[in-house]
Every structure is written in C-alpha cells, then in structure tokens.
Subunit: 333 residues, 2 copies
Amino acid sequence: MATIYDVSFLAGVSLATVSRVVNNTGKVSDKTRQKVMDAMEQLDYRPNTIAQSLASNRSNSVGVLVSQLDGPFYGPMMREVESVLRAANKHVIIAAGHSDEAQEKDAVEFLLSRGCDALIVDAEIVSNDYLVQLCRGKTPVVLINRMVDGIAEYCVHLDNLKGGYLASRFVLDAGHRQVAYISGPLFKLDARERLQGHKQALAEKGIPFDEALFHEGNFIEEGGYEGMAKLLDSGKSFTAVVCANDQMASGAIALCLERGLQVPEDISFVGFDNIPFPRYISPKLTTVTNPIQSMGKMAANWVLQQVYDCRDAVFNHKFEPELVVRDSVAKLS
Amino acid sequence: MATIYDVSFLAGVSLATVSRVVNNTGKVSDKTRQKVMDAMEQLDYRPNTIAQSLASNRSNSVGVLVSQLDGPFYGPMMREVESVLRAANKHVIIAAGHSDEAQEKDAVEFLLSRGCDALIVDAEIVSNDYLVQLCRGKTPVVLINRMVDGIAEYCVHLDNLKGGYLASRFVLDAGHRQVAYISGPLFKLDARERLQGHKQALAEKGIPFDEALFHEGNFIEEGGYEGMAKLLDSGKSFTAVVCANDQMASGAIALCLERGLQVPEDISFVGFDNIPFPRYISPKLTTVTNPIQSMGKMAANWVLQQVYDCRDAVFNHKFEPELVVRDSVAKLS
DNA sequence: CTGTTAGCGCTTTCAC
DNA sequence: GTGAAAGCGCTAACAG
C-alpha cells in the first residue's frame, strides 16, 4: 500500500502538499495539484484513515448503540443513520445493548474507547444519571427514544404518551368499554408512557383501569401470544385489546385466530409502531406510527452538524405519533 | 484523557512495561503489574485504540457489508456477527450496499480504507471477478450468501437450489399440479438458484414450466402483492403459489385475502427464509429455513480464527435448508 | 523481567 | 503556494 511519502516523492512535492490536496484544504496551484493527483492515481494511493485519525484526533466514525440489531424496529432507524453518515464519509460502528445494563455500559465504553467522534445511543436500561454523565462528557451524544431531564437538548424521542392515548382513544371512540391492555416491559420508559396514555384515555371516558385486563408483555410476538392467552383464560370479558406494539399485537391476534376467534368481529386490536409486516396480515392492523426512521435521520444529521459542521438542520426533539386506521377495530356503537 | 506516558510516569516504569500489562503480553512481575494497574486506575486510563491500530497495524475492527440494514433478513445475521465479534472485543463497522453495484463497491472501499482487519461481505451485485479480486487481496474476506468458483473456500452459503426444490416438491407432493411461482429478482443469484430448484421439482413430476405462471418479483411484500394480482388477473388457473421468500408470500397472501380468497382452501402457499413474522399470521406459512444466523456466526468465528487466531472452529461452507411444514398448503390428493 | 528507541502514516503549525 | 519538522499515542524489536 502506497503511503503519502511515496506520493510526495513521485510527485516531487512535500508531504504537506500531498496532504493538502488529499484533504482539499489550503491553497495548492493547479499544476501542483495535478502532479499530485497523477501520482496518487499511478500508485493507487489511498490514505490510511487510522493514521489520519491519530494525527487529526478525529476518527470520522460515529458509534451507534441500539438494543437489538434484529427485529423490525431498529433496522429502519439504522438504515437512515448509515445512509446519512456514509454519504458524508463517516463510519458507522454498531453495538447492541440487548436490554442489559452491563452490556449497554460496556457497549458505550467500547464505542468511546474506539474514539468515535459522536455517539447515537438508544439506551433502554442505564440510568438517567449515567446518561447525564455521558452527555456531559467530551464526546457528543444524541439520545434516541429517551427523554432525560437536564439533557433534553440531546434527546430525540417520540411522544409515547400521546401515542398510547391515541390508540386507546380510538378504541374507546369506537364504542368499546371493556378494553384490555398488553403492555411492554415496564422497566422501559416508552412502555410506561404508552400505558400512561392508555390510562389517560380511559380516565377521560370515566372508565376505571382494571388490573385484570392488564398484562405486562415483552414487546415481542411471544409476549403478545402469551398475554392474550392469559387474558382470555382469566374469564374476564373484553371486546378490544390495545397492544403496546405491533409485534405483541401480531402474537395476540395469532392466538385468537388459533382459538377460532374473529378479528375484529369478536375482538378488536390496536398496535403501536406501524412496522411493515402487519400491513400484510389479515386483518390489517390499526396502529400508531413511530417515525423511527425520521428520528434516526435527525440524529445522524445532528451529529453531522455538531461534530463535522456540515449542513445545518433544525434539531427536532419531539416527534409526534399518528393514528393509522386500518381494519382491526370493530365499531360497536 | 490520560496517555500511556502519564501512566508510565506515575507508575515509575517504562512505556513498554505499561504496554505489556495493557496487552497482557510478555512477562511482567506481579509487583510491577500492580503498580501499573494502580496508576491506570487512578488516571482512569484507557488506551487510545486508534494509536494502537496505527502502531500495530491492526484495527481490531471487522467490516460488514449487507445489502440492507432493515428488513427481517439481515438483522438476525448481524446480531450474531456483532455478538461473536464484540465478545472478542472487535469492532463491527457496517455498510449497506442497497443492491446497487456502485454502492457495493463503494462500501467495500470504504471498509477497506478504514483498515478493517477482515470483511464479511454479502454482495448481491458486484461481479464474481470483482469478488475474486477482493479475496485475493490482503484483507481476509468471507462471502456470505454467495458461492463463487475459485474462491469457494471463502464462501458461506445456503443450498438455495435444494431449498427451492424442497418447497416446490412439497406442493407437488400435496397433489398440486398448477403451481405458480413468484420469484426474486433474477439478477440475484439466490433467486436464480431457488427458481432452478423449482424447475427441477417440476421436471421430476413431468410438469412443464409455464411462463404464464411465473412472475419475477423483488423479494419484498409489495412485489408479492403485485405479482399475485398479475397472476390472478391473467386468467390462468392454479392452485398453489411457491414464493421465493416469505416477504413476497405475505404480500401475495394479503392480496388473496383482500379478494376474498381463502388460504389454503382456494390457494396454497409456500415461502422461503422462515423469517419470524409469518409464524404469527394466518394461516401459518409453510416455508423453508434459511439459517442466516448460523451463517453469520460461522462467518464471524472464521474471522476470529483467521485473523485473530482465537478459537478454532470448523468452517462450514454450505448450509442446508429444511422444510418447515405449517398450515398454508392444502392437500389435494 | 524491564527499558530504549524507532517508527506506524498522516496533519498541522510555522517559516519561507 | 510550498516545505520542514514536530508530534498524535502506542507497539515492537532489541538490548540489557
């Protein structure tokens, strides 16, 4: 692999000049530039980015921490992040936290020690204090899917409460009065917020929240499936189920179909997230959008702006969910 | 940020000694080691990985190229890759090729110039020649989902032909004789191989391949949906559809349900890949497994072994698909 | 077992 | 406009 020395020698100029044309910085005469370009071409020179990083104290890489790499949720977000960042020639280093505190912290350390110029973090477990500390650190950080007091300016998040409210409100407006709720794991903030939205919608209609119609799931299909079984077996009657995400809704619907229940004739369903798949199942799932792609893009652009001062986007902190009405809720009234 | 100098000064030892304890290489007396450890602790020293890389000519990072970051397919693979590699303290740098030749090449360049110690590549478009060239290069490469003559030892792939055969064979054995086929885009090798398996199964039963019952889709839901519409509208009759992946099968089934067709009573379906979601739709999709996770894990382990000489796994090149029988195929005979 | 000493390949003042 | 030279923080002979 040719080095900058080889190029400077071949072109008959100094190191500094080669560096200038490589980085397109400083003034270089056209003639010199051409000589350098030719030499680079001839040697198939490509800068050693490691050396660049060491010398310039910039790694040109940004670390992304998500809780999982699989599943329908983070893929679309990462897609946007990668796409924005690579267009700007920045590297994306990924790490997964797997919803485990030690792993999350470990991943952050890992990314930090890698010398990432910035971090995009979707942390589920670590404490607010830890995040505050992190944001106060030297490396710029943007937090996705989380709103932490005191560092709100680094947070990009969805109004989950409103989303939960919209979902439940829709079911209620359709005339349902006995509404079950399959929640995400309550150690996750978004799960708590969505539940809170549900309770708020209930309260507005003067319906008391009934613990017997509540199940704490895990945000994946299995959890919805099991939760639904529990709910059904409890003997409590209900005509609709609000699920804290689409994956659990799918699992729950699957169980209903297995037991010969019609959706939405016998039981209505609402989901959350608007992931791609449920559009293709029957009945099409009514749900609430979660603009995770936009959030990913926003985070990436913010990094670009803050760290590499390219572009200048307005930083939108709070994203609004919207109801997507499809076919899984029956009108009762 | 403390440097190795600070540590060596505080501990009263040389740079080399500090380096030795950091890397756990060479012999260091317990007493000295302890002094160094204390100093590191006290200074909250963390090695600068960029400098390490430059000096050791190793980046401790491996590049992963996939065609997309979203979708149900690559997530599980990346999950395994990340998990294996991070456990070994290696960084995972990702890039997406988006099924575009320029972008794929670009991504490879990108990863290479980053000084990745190895590459795990799922390239769909670039030519075999390009890949041969790449594999002959200095950086070790493992190719996923592709079998290229001459560099077979670097390939990890699925026997797609067999998979296609299994799917069609099952439908045929169930008594279906008019079988439509919704293919993946034929510029992709796996799509071609699966189709070939289909044709082989057909041939075994003495059934001629009928162009009118064939649709070239795009491996995503929309393609299945549209292909199904085309097939249905063509007026040709058929009792089963073999889809080259589950996503298209889902789209196709969705269209059937919209049109009031029963699955599998009116039309039977088989998919391919065994992605998580379709297990939760109705009817549960009969499909063929694609052990993409195992392939990811295998690739990562190979890298570990080859590049970092840890572990010693047997390198399994060819993975076998298996039929998963669920409820989407009706028995006709 | 420990220290000395060159670099790794590039950026970046500071002169000229 | 261009060049000289001093590092960036660490590894890896080599010597002792």
